[in-house]
């Protein structure tokens, strides 16, 4: 499998510190972005600890090819094994951040959003908690692979407000779920079939508060160097106010190298039986 990747995190123009954190692990093709919250330094610590805990444990389970019953908490039967590694990693990170926030006064109330993407040739797994996002850009389509856990989304689903109202609502920064704010966490996970030339974007709300889905699509389709594209996305958000920390992580699938399923192989498969 051949991937081209780049990531960039920027403090933005209004904040004194950067509470975002990201991990790009090319050895296991595991990508994580987190947007921390909480008072002085606590947000920075929550995002970093959550991302590192997930990376460390998921990689450990991958290396050991751990069975599902050895994971943290009960496995989810709707997921693949790798999907359960990620779910379990998120649950474990949640417990770690939550316990820290209870033990130390200076960490009280800290938490973080999290988006996790794992790419294998058989499946792509996308998981999230909070309002950071994962996008799949395939051809000329941009599609979310994450769900937003905030009040505005709930209000939209219930038909209480319109899409236009949602964009300016004072409640748009109020999360309904976050990693570390209670002793358990419910993550949304999706598994999709990857294809050659797919592009994945992981980002925090510092980008999406300023730049729309269509604009993101237009920027990405007009370039092919992920490093340059990351810079472009961050500058776009800063030019429009840079109200929050901005983190973007881009992964281009150049070649999947999956199992070949040519006609010859199919005959071979048939005769083997």
């Amino acid at each position: 499998m051949k991937l081209t990747t780049a990531g960039l995190s920027d403090v933005g123009l209004k904040r004194g510190s950067n509470e975002d954190y990201f991990v790009m692990d090319t050895s296991t093709n595991l990508y994580i972005v987190a947007d921390g919250m909480g008072g002085h330094l606590a947000g920075e610590i929550a995002s970093k600890i959550a991302a590192n805990t997930i990376q460390k444990n998921v990689n450990h389970w991958i290396t050991k090819d751990s069975p599902e019953d050895e994971l943290f908490d009960f496995p989810d039967s709707t997921l693949s094994r790798r999907g359960n590694y990620i779910l379990s990693g998120i649950r474990l990170a949640n417990r770690v951040v939550y316990e820290m926030s209870r033990e130390h006064a200076e960490y009280k109330g800290m938490g973080t959003t999290i988006v996790v993407l794992a790419i294998m040739h058989s499946a792509v797994i996308a998981a999230n908690v909070g309002d950071s996002r994962i996008y799949l850009i395939r051809g000329n389509m941009i599609e979310p692979l994450s769900k937003e856990h905030n009040m505005v989304t709930e209000q939209l689903e219930m038909g209480l407000i319109s899409k236009e109202e949602a964009e300016t609502s004072p409640l748009r920064h109020i999360l309904t779920r976050s990693l570390g704010s209670s002793d358990t966490v419910d993550a949304d996970i999706f598994e999709v079939e990857p294809m050659n030339n797919d592009c994945f974007l992981l980002c925090t709300d510092g980008l999406t508060d300023h730049v729309s889905d269509d604009e993101i699509l237009r920027i990405i389709r007009n370039g092919d160097d992920p490093e340059h594209l990351c810079q472009q996305l961050v500058s776009e958000a800063n030019e429009r106010g840079g109200n929050d920390n901005i983190t973007v992580s881009l992964i281009f699938v150049d070649r999947l190298d999956g199992e070949r399923q040519g006609l010859l192989k199919r005959f071979w498969y048939f005769f083997k039986k």
């Binding site: 002085h40 693949s80 006064a105 219930m158 999360l175 209670s182 999706f190 079939e193 709300d205 199919r266």
Partner: protein, 239 residues
Amino acid sequence: MARVILVFNKKVIKEYPFGKDNMTIGRNEGNDIAIDNLAVSGLHARIDKTENTYILTDLQSTNGTFVNDKRITSHRLQHKDKIIVGKHLLFFALSKEEQAKVKETELDRTMILDTARQKDLLAKQAEKKGMEVPIKKEKIGVISFIDGSDQGEIQLTKKLTKIGKAETSEIRLGGLLMPPTAATISRRPNGYAITTTGGKTVKVNNQAIQESHFLKDFDTIEIGSYKFQFYTQESEDEK
């Protein structure tokens, strides 16, 4: 600049402006806030300032440190907190500028609302609009075979359902030219999507699909001689 006001027997004894990074409270003379009373430990508690946050820590004192009548080991001080050390009362007060800053950052910051308060807020808003709060039910996809198989109906419970000849497929199809995985159906934030993976033609409503295609209720899917219908049904579980 924040201040700490020392009160004993309802009388203000002294006011301490917070001029450095930390202040200690205790009976010993070396403390920034020295309280000469036996109920106070030699080195009783400390307040640390970090940017705009003030943290009070009890230094394992004999009689404990209380904030707003609760015993604490460490506590993030808020404007107008009442700290009790022995028989003495310490008022914590932020300056006007600091109070404004706290308000500003709190408004702009991302916050988390617990489930009970979320439900409460949404119910109130719905009531205002004269609506009932709907119970959200998960929708689950179902594949119903029309032709080519007696598998009947299969619920798409997995996030990613593989369709093909391979033994690991959730939906197994036979046939000479059937690839190990001919197609996959994935559950995504925007609904169910079918993706062709094996190079074999996959048709939705008689149209061959390119890469992936979002499924609508009662779409007809054809793979080789197999034909089935897709629809969604409400799951028993609440979301």
